[in-house]
Amino acid sequence: MMKVSKTRLKHVMGIFVRYKKLLIGTTLVLGILLFCLIGRIVYPVNPRDIAFKDLLPPNPENPLGTDVFGRDVLAQIIHGTLNSLRVGVAAGLIATLIGVIIGAVAGYFGGIIDEVLNLITNTFLVLPTLALLIVIASYVKMRSEWIVAFIIGVTSWPWTARAVRAQVYSLRAREFVDLAKISGLSKFEIIIFEILPNMLSYIVMCFTLQMAGAILSEAGLSAIGLGPSDVVTLGIILRWCIVWEAPRLGAWWWFVPPGLLITLIAVSFLLLNSGLDEIYNPRLRRGIR
């Protein structure tokens, strides 16, 4: 028993060593998560408390200084990152779910259903999502982080739908699907129990991309004042930096960290995605050197 799990572990470790992107991506994601979770315990400063002098540069008491209201920036970053991630995961899940349903139905059923769904997907791909988000969000007065996540999710599914459709389309001609048909499974049963489990890795990859996109979308929406109104996210911090013109105040400690973290989160999800891609798509492996 012991021996089996040990070789298994070795195998997994081997994957991480061979695929550097996966290793770096996973480390970054875990690192950022730990930073928020441990940070909240080790650094129990309330991000909303106006407890300090305003615009303090980094100092022993406030490692990242304070903002224009006299709130601690590090505390805002710790809580903001976690909230941003939460919005990203929620929006990513919604987008992936919608995308998988539309993509799978279009790819498996084909014909007129495929044509129509494809048309809808392409239509949404051409539209600048943020503009659409702005129009929707401007009509919603009370925007909790869940509502923001929902709005982002329902506008960003087309990418996933397109990718999933292509995969399902190629899978539906395989023998195991024919076998399932012969054994009398319905079309939806085949999609759910036969096809989707076979492309689970692919769906996970879509999900990582959606999360990266959703976190950037949330930040963008927040930056123009349409973000969640009840929590601090990285985008909301940047919003304050824009409104109070942090660069002109010389407060680099205030506006540099949130943007850096947003970029880092997006990059690590992307690395995770292309790391997984390398494992499943040998043609790309030439890229690792």
Partner: protein, 357 residues
């Protein structure tokens, strides 16, 4: 003669594209029409309230509003009925829907609330040239440089590729507006090389004089940089992957075996990899436009994005929707221009549509 022309493959391809864009336009207009109607609350009431409040800053309606509340109620009711009639809300929904198209094609997008009583269409047409002046060069320059750099990284491989890949990845994921903040801090606040905001200095009148052009360029560089660098990052990332794909393909191995020179190989790979990048450009256009909305806001650059931002702040719904429609129209037109280019460059399109005949 004409019949032959109508059956030409390029024409058929473009016709299909036009139909698609018309459909996209209809879908987005329907969304803009539908969203306010799906939201809780009465949009006309909201409009009337914001007009009364908005005009109160300088208009006579607001003055009376503070003087006698009773008069306001009467006036608000009048205004309410006026708008119900204007938007045709007393008519059945399908007529309302068709009326939207009529208003759109006659250029009647309503009056702006924050610039009351100016027409939305005027506010937008004033802002549009600034946005296009920023976006179009940024996209063209970003696309060319991005593809060259990406191809170089993919071809070189090794350490060069690793460094460039990491750089592209990081740059492409930066939020545009955050990068804008960093640029403002470095070049405007610290080094005092470029101004931090606006499209031209106060006191300088837009004209074709030398002073204005220099002043315009000084204001132009930072917003331009913040857009172009991120486009370069995204395009380079895509091109690098494409080149690696092409270099690993069978026809490349064959060409290598029959002893073609390296230079020729790279040229073949590049030509094949650049085609999908044109489609990639069309798609990244949407994200560039999204980024531009916020970049203009950060720089206070007087384009559509900034107008949209101000409209959001003032709850100027006619202006928000008007800007949205114009943005969509611009994106679709630019997409179509790229399709025309694509149709002429890619030989496969001629082949496919010729085969359908």
């Amino acid at each position: 003669m004409i019949k032959r022309k109508l059956k030409s493959p390029v024409f058929l391809f473009l016709l299909r594209k036009i139909l698609f864009y018309v459909l996209t336009l209809i879908v987005s207009l329907t969304l803009v029409w539908l969203i306010p109607r799906l939201m809780p609350g009465d949009p006309i009431k909201r409009l009337v309230v914001s007009i009364l409040v908005g005009a109160g800053m300088g208009g006579e309606v607001g003055a009376t509003a503070t003087a006698t509340t009773q008069y306001t109620v009467k006036q608000a009711k009048m205004l309410y009925e006026l708008y119900v009639k204007k938007f045709g809300l007393d008519k059945p929904w399908y007529i309302q829907y068709l009326l939207m198209y009529k208003r759109l094609f006659t250029g009647d997008l309503g009056k702006s609330i924050m610039f009351y009583p100016e027409e939305v269409i005027n506010v937008i047409s004033r802002a549009l040239p600034w946005s296009l002046a920023l976006l179009v060069p940024a996209i063209i320059v970003g696309w060319i440089l991005g593809n060259l750099l990406g191809a170089y990284a993919g071809y070189k491989g090794g350490k060069t590729d690793n460094v460039l890949y990491s750089a592209f990845l990081f740059i492409s994921q930066m939020p545009y507006y955050w990068f804008a903040l960093v640029l403002i801090y470095l070049f405007a606040v610290r080094l005092h090389i470029f101004p931090a905001a606006g499209a031209y200095s106060v006191g300088v009148v837009p004209s074709l004089s030398m002073t204005f052009i220099i002043d315009f360029l000084k204001h132009y560089i930072l917003p331009f940089l913040s857009l172009v660098l991120i486009i370069i990052g995204g395009q380079a990332l895509g091109m690098r992957t494409m080149i690696i794909y092409e270099l690993g393909s069978d026809y490349m191995k064959y060409s290598e075996m029959i002893g073609l020179s390296d230079k020729k190989l790279v040229r073949y790979a590049f030509r094949n990899a650049v085609l999908p990048q044109i489609t990639g450009l069309a798609i990244s256009l949407a994200s560039a436009v999204s980024g531009q909305i916020i970049t203009e806001t950060v720089f206070g650059y007087p384009g559509i994005g900034y107008v949209m931002y101000q409209a959001i702040l003032h709850e100027d719904y006619p202006l928000i929707e008007g800007s949205f429609m114009i943005l969509i129209a611009c994106v679709l037109i630019m997409n179509f221009i790229m399709d025309i280019i694509y149709a002429y460059i890619d030989p496969r399109i001629k082949a496919v549509y010729a085969g359908e005949r």
